[in-house]
């Protein structure tokens, strides 16, 4: 009667997705901080920061697509 598996899936999905987003954003913040210190690798660090911000944004976009049935049907092919 009680669907323990569903609880498990919700828990794992929450933990994995939240940690991916936070990790990506944190790396970006760290790289920005390093870039502001200057030095020869400042440009590289900035590019890295932008990359991680983009990764973070993509994960969030994927999440939005998943919850909106119209979007997930049209983009992912299932809802």
């Amino acid at each position: 009667m009680i669907d323990w598996a569903a609880f498990g899936i919700v828990a794992v999905v929450t933990w994995v997705s939240a940690m991916c987003i936070v990790a990506a954003y944190s790396f970006a913040v760290r790289l920005l901080a390093v870039a502001r210190d200057g030095g020869s690798t400042a440009m590289l660090n900035k590019v890295g920061a932008v990359f991680f911000f983009a990764v973070c944004g993509l994960i969030v976009l994927f999440g939005i697509v998943l919850i909106v049935p119209v979007l997930s049907e049209n983009i992912l092919g299932f809802s």
Binding site: A18, V29, I67
Partner: protein, 438 residues
Amino acid sequence: MDLTLIVVLVISLALFFDFTNGFHDTANAMATPIATGAITPKKAVLLAAILNLVGAFLSTEVAKTISGGIINEDAATGVSITPDMIFAGLMGAVIWNVLTWLLGLPSSSSHALFGGLVGAAIVGAGFGAVDYGVLLSKVLLPALCAPVIAGVSAYLCTKLAYSITRRQSGSSPKRGGFRYGQIFSSSLVALAHGTNDAQKTMGVITLTLVASGLQEANTGPHMWVIASCAFAIALGTYTGGWRIIRTMGSGLTDVKPAQGFSAEVSTASAILASSHLGFALSTTQVASGSVIGSGLGRKGAEVRWGTAGRIALGWLFTLPAAAIVGGVAAALAHLGTIGVVAVAVLGVGVLVVFWVLSRREVVGHENAMSDIDNSGAAVNILSKKERRKRERAARKAAEKEQKSAKQAKQPAAVSSETSGETESGTDSTQGTEKGQKK
């Protein structure tokens, strides 16, 4: 009983419930960014209102399945939900929502709604009207699991965020960057809230229309229902439940940007994951769990367990209390038109009393978070613990100086002078300590 009159009454009460739901739950999305100064209170509620509005139009999946299950409403068992029972249930939900707002408790609007409907159904149609298995597995257990799942997530994320941004070289980690992230993460929470909570009222109105034979069964909500619910919840969100924002933003723990970002991302992930997998979680409980979890995850932040306990107590009472009010209202409404009118008059009376009580101490956008608002611009807000630690260290240093001054066996007149100097000495020790920490 005039069918159309009761239907109109139910729809207006349902929309009012949607409004209370909106201002009750503004805090879920916007309390932490307001607390860290990521966004000004007025802009925050406007952003949340717009995203709630958008979210309400995005999906009607929850509305289509609402109340299907918990209340047995099939012809086989002879149980049928009448509009006056829904009216009584909604009254229970609205009264509980306004009472918890008055107390500043972030309780679950969904649980108030379920509680009110369950209470009304039991009184109106007997104990057989409720499917307790579904109630346990779909409402009560998620109520226990949701805050824990979100809290663990926020705890892990906060730890992760701080360990990734920590600089070994000792230079500034510039964690203020998380404040910009908070604007997006809280927007995501507001959007998720719109896709979930506005649906509940749409479901109730649709159920009423079906029950009174004005709409065919198994059809989705009408466009005017979707639109009016979306606007009701957005308006409620814009009004802002400042009392609850105060509890969530500063009552549970002092929130810093990296922490707030982690908490919001955890809240949004938990809601999105559960709604995608067809699981009903309460937005409020998930958000509270996240805030507490993030408080545990940051070194030096303290969680005020007294407030957390008060909130948990509110959760325990939400379902039964709303059920009792709903039940009493249903018993009255059972008397016919006079009963329904009596419920309406009494309900409005109680709400007016609550409102008058709330005017005694007005909490608005200007004072909901005043102390934090002022220091919001500074990235490094000291937590109480850190502040106390510094004070203690300063006091110790002052005592040492006094002792050494006495040991030097100087005349009494001079020692009194040094005690006057120790105060300025305290400042300098604090200054050097700050320098060392940086």
